[in-house]
Symmetry: C2
Subunit: 268 residues, 2 copies
């Protein structure tokens, strides 16, 4: 069982293009009992990869129209152009015949990318994960955040506990931390688009704990090296309840491997 990965098992699809079947697992549930949006996106990408026949999602956009509950879903895939470099297609995820999520993605073979490189940003400046704290670990006077849902599928290490985790949001919607999938599942380009939506939202530090994603776009910039992922999240503009969230993932070799932005809406 050492090779068993809940992420791979729970994102598996059956069937053949244009129509695939999958089962949304309750192992990736968030507070309300519905499935995390990054996990749902990962299921759609498994179906798209079957049809687009390239190894790496390069650019991905997901529109969340309704929450997805644990249980069976169908994914209808519609292939667009398949060119020399990129193959593009769309997916609609349906539950009980109703469209819940719509995804478009361009896949490529990132090992073939070649061109100029010039990097102006820097990796998060984090201490070694072994010197960090477990974000989901037990605090004095509580029994930890560990739940049957998504916090059981991720490990997060922080240099110090964020304000929201101690009941005192800091007012600054930004954070840097380590993240990895639970177990020994190493990161790859299929896991990155989901991971950008699996950490604690930046608006937790503004005291807002209920937010729903309208749209998430992800750019995968390189195949990640094995090991912990250094993450940076921020929200700069909360306007009438709507807010963007920017997310960067850097691999253990110090390279940017994914960048995302989502538009989300506060529900409280």
């Amino acid at each position: 069982m050492s090779d068993y990965s809940p992420f791979d098992a729970d994102t598996a699809v059956t069937g053949a293009g244009p129509r695939f079947q999958a089962t949304i697992s309750d192992r990736w549930a968030v507070g309300g009992g519905h499935a995390n949006g990054g996990y749902v996106l990962s299921v759609c990408l498994r179906a798209l990869r079957e049809v687009l026949d390239r190894p790496d999602p390069l650019a991905v956009a997901a529109f969340y129209q309704r929450r997805v509950l644990p249980g069976p879903v169908e994914i209808e895939v519609d292939a667009g152009r398949s060119g020399r470099r990129l193959a593009t297609g769309g997916a609609r995820l349906l539950q009980g015949g109703q469209e819940l999520v719509r995804v478009v993605a361009s896949f490529t073979d990132l090992s073939q990318a070649s061109g100029p490189t010039e990097v102006a940003g820097r990796a998060p400046n984090l201490p070694d994960p072994r010197d960090c704290l477990d974000l989901f670990g037990e605090l004095p006077g509580e029994s930890g955040l560990a739940a049957p849902g998504i916090t059981g599928q991720l490990e997060c290490r922080v240099p110090r506990l964020p304000g929201w985790r101690q009941g005192a949001p800091s007012g600054r919607a930004e954070a840097e931390f380590w993240m990895r999938l639970a177990g020994d599942r190493q990161p790859d380009t299929m896991a990155l688009p989901g991971l950008v939506d699996m950490a604690a939202p930046a608006v937790f530090e503004l005291g807002h704990f209920l937010s729903t994603t309208v749209e998430l776009s992800v750019h995968v910039r390189a195949r990640p090296a094995p090991g912990w992922l250094a993450c940076r999240v921020s929200t700069r503009y909360l306007i009438e309840g709507y807010h963007e969230e920017d997310f960067e993932i850097w691999d253990s070799a110090g390279r940017l491997v994914a960048q995302s932005r989502q538009l989300a809406l506060l529900l409280n």
Copy 2:
């Protein structure tokens, strides 16, 4: 003719859902003679708005699979969920029966948005447009950049000429400037998603002048006030030819009205 707007005329669609017709004008051509991606997106949004029946594009993602040439196109629209707040749908733009661009968008009525507001970023710090230079104006020894294409449809005002415009790219892929549609066409939420892709790319300042968009996502954050738009553009990560470009548009009242990110690929 004072109310005549090339933008409105050239983005018009005819027909009825699910299939619309439009004519791509050569007035929005870029260097290679093909149409600017922001303009093409605006045509698709005109078709989507017909079907989704909400006034404001809120979140938009466009996947550019092949260049669009001036001439007739068809736009096939596919409506998804229409909820209380959002209506979502997809559009495929075809030329000669071939899919060139795929768009998904969620529309809403932004006048109904209400919720907490907390803004951490700031508007570009620019002198009055009357004290700025015309980016496309004539320089000593040349006859200006003004061409029959897109530079004739936009006005750009800069505090000082960027390095690339003087033959000496600065090496810093960032800029702040004023922009507006030519003539008296005031900005609105239908114009913003196109405008984020119409200015000079940030990578010009890295000495790269040929770049093609893979994916563009835009979030419209508010209805803009009339007048000039203050813009901020930057590229931080150029990796093997692929680079993101982040774009912000602030209105004349100093409010953020649109945010975008695109993934593009250098061609030279």
